[in-house]
Amino acid sequence: MSIEKRLQEKAVELLSEKKVDVVVGYEAGTLPYQAAPCFIENPDDEGRLVLNPFCSVNLAKYVHDILMAHKASQKRMKPEQRTKKVVGVVARGCTTRSLVIHLQERQYERDQIFIIGVPCRGYVSKKKLAAAAGGKEITACAIINDRLSFTTPDGTKEIPLESVLAESCLSCRYNNPVISDVMVGDPAPPMKPDSEYADVDAFEAMSGEERWNYFAEEMKKCIRCYACRNTCPSCYCKVCFVEQSQPRWVGVSVDESDTQAFQIMRLFHMAGRCVDCGSCVDVCPMGVDLRKFLKKLDKDGYNLFAHRAGEKMEQQPPLSVHSMDDKDEFIYEP
C-alpha cells in the first residue's frame, strides 16, 4: 500500500474517532508541480490528501495559525462553554522541529496537536525546476522513483530527482520526524548532513568587503513582500516589528538600508529557531539567497551553544537560557 493511501486511512481513522478536529496536510496544487496546504475536517474528504516531493511548505505555520485563532475565539466564551481543539498535522522532520519550537515557546499544549509523522526524501525546489525547464511553462510533471519527468511545449524531458531538490533538503539532518504520535511509512534513508555548512564556510572565507557586497546585492532583489515572514513557522509575533509604527522600527523608504535592516532583524530573530525547512527560500518571489545567512545562525548556535533548533524537547532555545561559563572571547577587555 502506498504511503499516501496509508496517510489517508490514518486521517479517516483520526477524524471519525474524533481524536482530531482537523487534519492539516497537503493537496494537489493548481499547477502540476505544486502541492498546497489543505485542511480536512470531514472524513469523506480524505481523498484530497497527497504526499509527494512537491509538498514544500512547512505546515507547522498553519497549526499555529489554527490554534491561535481558536484560542482567540475562546476568550469571548463562558468558561463552561469553552472547547478544546486538536489539530492533526502531517509532519516531516522539519515540520516536527518547528512544532517542538512552538511547544518549547509555550504556544500551545502538547495534547492540542496530533503529529502524523511521515518520512521525507526532500522536496522539489520550484526555482531549480523552472531553471531545468529553461523558464518554459511546465504542463505536466511526474515522479517515478528517482527520476522526474516534465513536459514543456518543447517536449518531455527526464532528469534525476536529486538535481532539483531544494538545497536545505540535500544536506538535511532530520529528514525523519523528531517527535510523532503515529508514524506512517518507514524511515527515509539519511541525506548528506556533513556538508550542511559548506556554503557558510565558503562565504566565511571571503573578505569582509566581498561579503557585504554580496549581502547588499541580494537585498537589492528584496521587494519586502514579507512572504518569507508569512510562511515561516518561527515568525508568529502578533505584531511584527516591521509593522510597528510607535516607534517605527524599520523605515519603508526606497533607501537600501531599510531593506537591509529589515532583513538583518528578521534573520536575527531566527537565531536558534530556524529549522532550515527552506520555506522562506521556496516562497521568495525574487529568489533572495536567505539560506546562506540563516545557516550561519544555525552554525553559530551549534558551535557556541551546542544547540540545534527543535532537535529535542528538553533542550531549551539557546537565547532563552544562559550559563556563567558561556564563551566570552568577543568581550572587549582593553
Binding site: G208, W212, F293, P318, H322, D326, I331, Y332
Partner: protein, 146 residues
Amino acid sequence: MADNKAQENWQPKIVAFVCNWCTYAGADLAGISRIQYPPNVRLVRLPCSGRVNPFYVVKALQEGADGVLVSGCHPGECHYITGNLSARRKFAMLKSFLSYLGIEPDRTIFTWVSASEGEKFAHVIRGVTEKIKALGPAKKLVKSYE
C-alpha cells in the same frame, strides 16, 4: 579639497548602550573623578544590558553611528541577577552575525564596566574611539537622508 578637510576633521560618533547600575555609575565616577576621555561617545542609559534589543544596535548603525558600544555589569554582578548573562548570549550571536554579513567586527563592541571602575570606563572609551577612528566613517548599512 573640502572633502579632504572634512575627512581630516572627522570625528566618530559612537553610541554606547550602558546599564544603569554598573557602567552608567562607572561613567559617573569617571566624571566626578575628572578623568579625561574622548567626547565622541553618546551614552544611552538602560536598566540592564539585557534590555538591549539587538535591533538597537542595528538601528544605531543604520541611523549613522560609526560604532556601537554595549556595556553592563560583570557576569555574576548583575542587578537583576542574570540579565547580563542572557545579554552575553545575544551579543555573541549578534556580533558574529554582523561580522559574517561584512560589517567590520570593531563597529560593534561589547564590554563590562562596573560602578567602581571609573578609570576603566575612560580607558574603554579611549580604546573604542581609537578603534573606530582607525576604521573611518561607517559606510555600510547607513541610511542616507539626502
